[in-house]
Amino acid sequence: MISIGAMIILAVVLALITRVFLMKHKLLSWVLFSAYTAFSVFVLLKLYGNWNYFETMNLSYLVGRINMRPGFLNKPLGWFFSFFVMAMSFLNSFFSMGFSKSSHSRNIVPHWLMILAASLTVFFTKDWLLFIIGWETLGWASFFIIMGGKQKKYKDSMSYYFFSLVSGMLLIAAVWMIGIKFRTLNIHTTTRSMIILAKNTPWQAFPTLLMLTLSFLIKSGAYPFHIWAPRAHKSAPADFSPFISGIMIKFGIFGLLLYVIPIVSKGYAGYSIFGMPVFAWVFSWLGIITSAIATVLAFSENDAKRLMAYSSVANAGYIITAIFLGTALGIKGGLLHAFNHMIFKAVIFMTIAAVVYRTGETDMNKMGGLAYKMPITFMTFLLGIIAAAGIAPMNGFVSKWMIYQALLGQKHYFMTVAMFFASTGAFLYLYRALHAIFLGQIREVHEREVKEVPFLMQIPMWIGMILMFGLGVFPGYLLRPMMPLMKTFGSSISESLNVVQGSVGSLNTLFSTVIFILGVVIAAAIFFLSAKTHKTPMMDNYTSGEDPEEWNVTPNKYQFSYGFYEPITKMFSWALKRSVDKAYFKASYILKIIGREINMIFTDHNNWGYAALLGLLAMIIGGLFL
């Protein structure tokens, strides 16, 4: 059996090789990438069930007074996340192989491999030190992928890197607080110690927990920090966006589940509100607020990738809410939603990448009617948004349903209502994307040029469709392997394949799907048994048989896309006006002004610098009398 450490080193070595030697051979490096991810999936599958498998590196680090030997530990939580990372990357590699023909950055493979190495480190590490190392490596590696050598994308990638740094700094500070308090950096023992500490003196545990939570929330794009998400998604290479949305946003969730949630749900003895620690309650609300705000922002978004990025932020919001509930059901729902979201959002972004591949556009106002030319992509996208909106037969529904159940079980009625808002809003903007990209009138340019993407790129789409539908009908196929994972959160319900238990009801997904299919069959029967149809071109109907050309009616003019939800956007204009983005821009601007003023201190050759020196002297002497 190959060890986890060896896999990480292998990824780093491969990254170096591809970066140094294979810059000119994109396809070959993608094949290597694909092989590596396939191999990792294989290794991880062998590791399943072998919990508490651990290995220690032959390096000893001295950090402060803490002498440690870093190592890796196979826990269900880390296993699941890394499995999904590897599996999604594997699927994505097919897509990228087809994608990478065009003017595509050559930097992606090596940095992506670095990200994989870093994520394995983060998911399997035994101690906080390696966690930090992995965590920060993620930041710069994705910075270079997102920028991809494009000048105009550089600001967006910078905003990602900025937030990544903030997160890393908070993490370091928090980890040191832990290290100083417990004299060890082992994650699992400090969790236990922290639970005890939180039970006895919650105020001592509070700052550490707060910093950690903030650090993780930044990575998952929660409310005041969400602004990196749309920018990073927009600027990232089209085939990397699935990874950002599917995986990168989940790192924060992983962190929360790893450390914060066990402590808050088990031991925190601070003030509580509605039977829940205030700490968890606040962050639950933050999750819901995140989803509501992201939803509102998505209404008026015209860029397909930015829109989907807001959708990802909204989904991260649900997950945060669910896991902070702290109940077994909430955590299960949150986790399931996290995994489901990985699948469907990755698939959605792949279809968008397919569209980009053919049209080179992400602005939805410049598209329309592509479904007629790219049916497979359209079907994938359709199933994707059905899942993303949490509509019944798809996998998104099951996890959303569980989150509702968890919320109701804890009697958080207002949160439930807010989640309804976000969920319905999701349907709104997702339909908008569906319409603006795939339906309506097709542009004349696209009519001529666009066709379905090559088969290699269709493979992950097909698999994605099967997964979304399959897990929607039989969520048990995901829930059953998750049982050891849920056991760590104190739930030992054995799952059945197609029945999900909630707090105020249960859900038989198989039954509802069968009913749905029956309904469709009835409808189809009515449709096909009735009279024949007669196909006409779209433009014929408007002008009552006249020649559209004479009426100056063109498909381009007859696509309704711009200002789709204007009424709703208008309703929320008060909120959009005071956006967080502006606050950040303002802060950055102020920082620059201050920087210039300070520059003036150094460049100005007037002698008041010496006066400052005298001031220093005065201070030293004045210090005497303090």
Partner: protein, 485 residues
């Protein structure tokens, strides 16, 4: 072994005079002399470092505390090895001699500067420290002015006046110390400093600090920094950034046992270091000229070192040494690569380096790695320094300072990666890579940076030795004084 310690100072001085006789000879002779001397220094100091002993040489046979001693313990030898390594790289691969000022004078001055820097580190006598400091200062004034442009003179003059003022204040402090304790030997001072009355001790140490803070480029002693870094010739930039500031850091670490006897002084220095950090990094955030930016960054890093020392404790000193080493290496890399870029594009504005990664991929990669190391990103050497430093701050419950440091680190990361990002943007340009030999030393240093980044264990033992040497002041004093008594 004793002679080696003396040779570390004597040999460069000798080389400087030797160069005069080869003034008509080809350039390579000078380079050969300098490289030989500095390589010898590097190797011998490393050998002494690993032989684990502590060397004390009483010059002229005068016993301490009356005579001047040279002390080569774990702490000072690390630093000597470091500055000699960097001096070697400068001498061998395109520093002083290969720039426009193509004469033996720069070489001689550079050798003097190296000798002075080594002397500052090795000496065990406060006044001797002052003398070496002035020696280093005078050579660096001239070397900066060798840049030959307007800002060279501006920078040099500003440096002279600030430096003159600071060193005179330091001399005043030394005078007071001698007057009250009757000794100038650092080891002896450690023992005797308690004898001085509170207020006078305060004043004297504050004045002595002025000189060290000048070398460490701490506000308000760093007003000369941007202009000097901008105006100095390529090699001198590295000397300023990597050697002189390193020496300043060393001096502060060495004097820490004396300073700590004035807890109030540390309290006063903390806000100063924070202010310096904030000012330097924010100024760098806005700066467009790469060398000035790196100068500001040096000032910021040295403020970090000072903070780490002020946090105190074993781990604080450990962090300080680590940051000094990481900074010296990374800054040398940045200046080497910066000089390479400057030669290639003819401009020093980093915004004009767009797309340089196509022309000089290695240069861009080296720049990025060094920048990440300075920011304290894992996988690079700087990370361990920053990590230990934050631990030190939290251990001594200086939460406010830690918050500032973390925020400033973010600013630092942003402006460094901004430059790296600019390098990796794609543009069409017909620039050709020139002076690629400047990348050789950078590669060597980056290899060290990455090696230590992934395996800090390889040097943490040595640094821990240095920490022990710095921390156990009484032992140090006893050793130095007993050595010959």
């Amino acid at each position: 072994m004793n002679t080696y310690l003396t040779l570390l100072i004597i040999l460069p001085v000798f080389a400087a005079f030797l160069m005069y006789f080869f003034r008509k000879a080809d350039n390579w002779v000078n380079i050969a002399i300098m490289s030989f001397v500095t390589l010898f220094g590097t190797v011998s100091s490393l050998v002494m470092l690993f032989s684990q002993g502590m060397e004390v040489v009483a010059l002229g046979g005068w016993k301490p505390p009356y005579g001047i001693v040279l002390v080569g313990d774990q702490l000072s030898l690390i630093f000597v090895a470091l500055i000699y390594l960097i001096a070697y790289l400068i001498a061998q691969f395109g520093g002083i001699e290969r720039t426009k000022t193509n004469d033996h004078k720069s070489g001689a001055l550079f050798m003097l500067l190296t000798a002075a820097a080594a002397g500052m580190i090795l000496t065990g006598d406060l006044f001797n420290f002052f003398v070496f400091m002035e020696l280093a200062a005078i050579s660096s004034y001239v070397l900066i002015a060798k840049g030959g442009c307007r800002s060279s003179y501006t920078g040099a003059l500003k440096y002279i006046f600030t430096g003159g003022l600071a060193s005179m204040l330091m001399l005043l402090g030394i005078g007071i110390l001698y007057n009250t304790t009757g000794t100038l030997n650092i080891a002896h001072l450690m023992v005797r400093i308690g004898l001085v009355g509170d207020s006078l001790r305060w004043l004297a140490l504050g004045l002595v600090l002025c000189g060290i803070l000048l070398k460490m480029e701490v506000f308000p002693f760093n007003l000369w920094v941007p202009e000097s870094y901008k105006g100095a010739p390529a090699g001198m930039k590295i000397v300023l950034g990597s050697i002189l500031s390193t020496v300043g850091g060393y001096a502060l670490i060495r004097l820490y046992p004396i300073l700590i006897q004035n807890p109030g002084l540390i309290k006063m220095l903390l806000p100063l270091a924070l202010l310096s950090l904030i000012l330097a990094e924010l100024a760098a955030y806005r700066e467009k000229h790469i060398n000035r930016l790196l100068g500001y960054s040096s000032a910021g890093q040295m403020a970090l070192v000072m903070l780490a020392i002020l946090f105190g404790g074993r781990i604080g000193i450990y962090a300080a040494i680590f940051i000094v080493i990481a900074h010296a290496m990374a800054k040398a890399v940045l200046f080497f690569v910066g000089a390479h870029f400057k030669e290639s594009t003819g401009s020093s504005m980093w915004e004009s380096y767009r797309g340089l990664s196509k022309i000089s991929p290695i240069g861009a990669a080296l720049f990025t790695i060094a920048a990440l190391s300075l920011t304290g990103i894992p996988g690079m050497m700087g990370f361990w320094g920053k990590l230990s430093m934050i631990g030190a701050g939290l251990a001594s419950a200086k939460y406010f300072s830690i918050a500032i440091i973390l925020i400033i680190t973010i600013v630092e990361g942003v402006y460094f990666l901004r430059i790296s990002g600019t390098l990796y943007q794609s543009t069409e340009s017909d620039v050709k890579a020139k002076a690629s030999y400047l990348l050789i030393p950078a590669v060597i240093l980056v290899l060290i940076i990455v090696l230590v980044g992934f395996w800090p264990g390889c040097i943490s033992k040595i640094i821990n030795g240095g920490v022990s040497a710095a921390e156990r002041s009484s032992e140090y004093a006893k050793l130095v004084l007993d050595y010959l008594l």
